[in-house]
């Protein structure tokens, strides 16, 4: 063995060194925050609760994950092996900690972890055995096939969503299906609509709006105030709320839209915060923190959803049930969301939509070619604001009660996270992201075994924003163009040429 080769550290040594470094960093990061928890006791004095095992868990997990990722080449192998190893660690943890031993769960996690690791090793061997693959030529045909597939997925999904409440009603009855239609259906669809609305601003025109919730709030308060003060019906207030929100969008848009991308983001953030502060402190108008209650509920085009003789149930000769209103709300928000979607898709093919996309890609080139950037940005902003306002009016009529706490920066961040995860510009991606992120956390609430593991006060909502934030970072680092990327321009000159998304550099936005 020659000397040079002996001195060079082996792969395992390198991986061990990197893993030790990562473990050390993890230990330093978790040391005070994870290890010691500050709690106020009965006398309102602060006491420290020691939780040292958590630091060990964090350090060990990061060590193992870093070791595996530096020793494995294939990315599938990495992902599977890390997931498997963490699952195994979790299983060992379940066996060791004696206060709640969960043998069955431990076996389950251990077995699935080992399977994942084995699958990972299989990919790794396969990857090493295969010869170096040549870099694939740009695939022109594939893009059109993918977009055809996406259309198909969209149609199937739409069919599923339309049938969703009726199938549930038939299956679980009015009592059982209420929760599923309300918590999953209506809740998710609100976020789908908000995501699609913000997508016009962020995904198409490339303007980062951190205060989108302000327009949502304008819509909600517009309906609430118009309905409680003047007694206007929902169907009159809905377009008014949209127009008012669009008006606010234009009002804000005029001065700020000549700012650069990140300054624009911060100005919209400040605007959103000011709206919340005003809603909280202008007690004469908005009733402040106490909010506006007893907002008139939605009616079936004039027929109220009550047990009265002129109510919806009596008119159609069916037994009264509160589920009717929920189902009606479901279809109402579905229609509103679909209008948002259709308007966006159609506008993308008009000159204004093309100007949006051109603006997103390169603002200076756009200006040089004579596109009026102010008007283009303003329409995107106003349109996005209008859909936010419509969603706000719907939110008010669904809840029957609103206060400023529903319109915080976290709400804006949630909607932005949905748009970013959906791939900024992709309609179906945004919808899927909303389903996964909003529906996903609702599902976690249903899983009883999580309560066994984490204690009875386990609340997945606490972890929701944690995952949202992390997912935004991972998304930017890993696939900044989104999971389902349709950021290719809608129009091509003469021929389609395959251009990798990463080559299309974005200009000043």
């Amino acid at each position: 063995m020659d000397v040079a080769a002996a001195k060079r550290p082996t792969r395992v040594q390198t991986a061990l060194r990197e893993a030790s470094f990562a473990g050390l960093i993890a230990a330093l990061l978790s040391f005070p925050i994870l290890a010691l928890r500050v709690e106020a006791d009965m006398n309102n004095r602060l006491v420290l609760e020691e939780r040292w095992p958590l630091v060990g868990v964090a350090t060990l997990s990061i060590f193992v994950a870093r070791f595996l990722s530096s020793i494995l080449d294939d990315w599938r192998a990495r992902a599977l092996a890390i997931a498997g190893a963490l699952s195994n660690l979790f299983a060992i943890g379940l066996m060791i900690f004696p206060d709640r031993p969960q043998i069955g769960l431990a076996l389950w996690f251990g077995a699935s972890g080992s399977t994942l690791m084995a699958a990972g090793l299989y990919f790794e061997r396969e990857g090493r055995a295969a010869p170096e693959r040549p870099i694939a030529a740009p695939q022109v045909a594939k893009t059109s096939r993918t977009s055809g597939l996406i259309n198909l997925v969209g149609i199937v999904a739409l069919g599923f969503v339309i049938a969703y409440p009726l199938v549930l009603l038939a299956w679980l009855g009015p009592q059982g299906s209420l929760k599923w239609i309300n918590n999953y259906g209506v809740q998710i669809l609100i976020y789908v609509m908000l995501g699609w609305g913000l997508n016009i601003v962020v995904g198409l025109a490339g303007l980062l709006d951190l205060g989108y919730v302000a327009f949502y709030a304008v819509g909600a308060y517009a309906y609430a105030l118009l309905a409680t003060t003047f007694g206007l019906s929902f169907w009159i207030c809905l377009p008014l709320a949209g127009i008012l929100a669009a008006f606010w969008g234009i009002l804000l848009g005029f001065p700020v839209l000549r700012l650069r991308g990140d300054y624009l983001a911060l100005v919209t953030l400040a605007f959103g915060e000011i709206v919340t502060i005003v809603l909280t402190n202008w007690v004469d108008l908005t009733n402040g923190e106490a909010g506006i209650s007893s907002i008139p509920r939605v009616s079936f085009f004039g027929l109220p959803f009550t047990a009265a003789d002129d109510g919806f149930a009596a008119t159609f000769g069916i037994a009264f049930s509160p589920i009717h209103r929920t189902i009606f709300l479901f279809y109402l928000i579905l229609v509103l969301a679909l209008i948002t979607n259709v308007v966006t898709i159609r506008l993308r093919r008009l000159p204004i939509g093309r100007a949006w996309e051109a603006l997103r890609e390169d603002e200076i080139a756009c200006r040089s070619l004579g596109v009026n950037t102010t008007n283009t940005k303003l329409t995107a902003f106003a349109l996005g604001a209008m859909f936010g306002g419509l969603a706000g009016a719907f939110f008010a009529v669904r809840q029957g009660f609103i206060n400023p706490n529903s319109f915080t920066f976290m709400e804006s961040a949630t909607i932005l996270a949905i748009v970013v995860l959906g791939g900024m510009g992709s309609q179906i991606g945004v919808a899927l992201a909303a389903v996964a992120m909003v529906g996903g956390t609702e599902i976690l609430r249903e899983l009883d075994f999580l309560k066994v593991l984490f204690g009875n006060d386990f609340d997945p909502n606490q972890y929701r924003m944690l995952i949202f934030g992390l997912a935004m970072v991972v998304m930017m680092v890993w696939k900044p163009r989104g999971l389902i990327s349709t950021r290719e321009p809608s129009i091509f000159l003469k021929e389609r040429r395959g251009v990798a998304g990463s080559l299309v550099k974005e200009g000043h936005g």
Partner: protein, 307 residues
């Protein structure tokens, strides 16, 4: 008049804290041109680290002298917060250099949400009121108990002194050392600096670490002055410190300190004489007005748009 003097002292105290945070924003913006949205939350994390270490020192190890404890807390907070800031830059920002323009900002927003909720999950959502320490008050004018007395507490003296000392050290590092020269070189032209042998990645990392150290001092002083902290306490001070950086001219370090002091004064005077409900709205309005009407701030250079 006496009341005004009192508010002036309070405003300068608050402004010192904003100034220390603002330097982190302005340095990072200067060197890689991104708004480090998570910086306010790094400040909040440092406040929690300081609180935990302070409690650990006083209750578990029962250190007798409050000044030694405070000094140890500050050093520990500086080191541990730098690790956080270093890791954030390494994992969330460095891979994004050369990505499209908004990518680092979106990543930073994600990081900010993550940090906020990480602390909420690990430390609980409730306020953490620290027992008040160093309550001694000096009377600059008037008698104890008089309505028109002007006072300065030993906490406020510590805050202003610590800020002044740190800024001097920091100023020396940026102006006189090789590290400072490397930073300014990277700020002017990253590629050229790299060609001339400046380790760009290391310089950027150190910039984040320095920013985090100043923010952690701000965090410790914030805890000392206000004695209560919560998981979402990074957001509003963060935006205000960013406003300070913009007001002073983003990229300019003296501008950040000046902007911080001005924002602190404006906030305190606004709360005292106009409306305390709308004091945050005042800061946010300043942010909007400055960004729209004078984006280069008080001491900044106007930005040239390059194609």
């Amino acid at each position: 008049m006496e009341n005004f003097l009192q508010q002036l002292i309070n405003g300068l105290t608050l402004g010192s804290i904003y100034g220390l945070i603002a330097i982190g924003y302005t340095m990072v913006f200067g060197i890689i041109g991104m708004v480090n949205f998570a910086h306010g939350d790094v400040f909040m994390v440092s406040t929690f680290i300081a609180l935990i270490i302070f409690l650990a020192l006083t209750t578990l190890f029962s250190i007798p002298s409050i000044y030694i404890a405070l000094f140890l807390v500050m050093v520990a907070a500086m080191i541990l917060t730098s690790v956080w800031s270093w890791a954030i830059e390494r994992l969330a920002y460095r891979p994004l250099r050369g990505s499209f323009r908004l990518a680092p900002l979106i990543s930073a927003i994600g990081m900010s949400i993550f940090l906020m909720n990480f602390v909420q999950v690990t430390q609980g959502p409730r306020n953490k009121p620290m027992p008040p320490i160093l309550e001694h008050v000096f009377y600059l004018y008037g008698q104890p108990g008089a309505a028109n007395a002007v006072t300065i507490s030993s906490r406020q003296i510590i805050i202003m002194a610590a800020t002044a000392i740190l800024l001097t050290i920091f100023w020396y590092v940026v102006q006189k050392t090789a590290l400072g020269r490397a930073q300014r070189a990277v700020e002017q032209d990253r590629k050229m600096a790299a060609l001339l042998g400046v380790n760009v990645n290391r310089t950027v990392s150190i910039t984040f670490i320095i920013g985090a150290m100043l923010a952690s001092v701000a965090g410790t002083l914030y805890l000392l002055q206000y004695g209560v902290v919560r998981f979402d306490d990074g957001f509003i001070p963060g935006v205000k410190a960013f406003t300070a950086a913009v007001l002073g001219g983003i990229g300019s370090i003296p501008g950040a300190v000046l902007g911080g002091l001005l924002i602190g004064l404006i906030e305190v005077l606004w709360a005292a004489y106009v409306s305390s409900d709308y004091k945050n709205a005042a800061a946010f309005s300043i942010l909007i007005i400055v960004l729209i009407f004078m984006p280069s701030g008080l001491l900044g250079r106007p930005e040239v748009e390059k194609v």
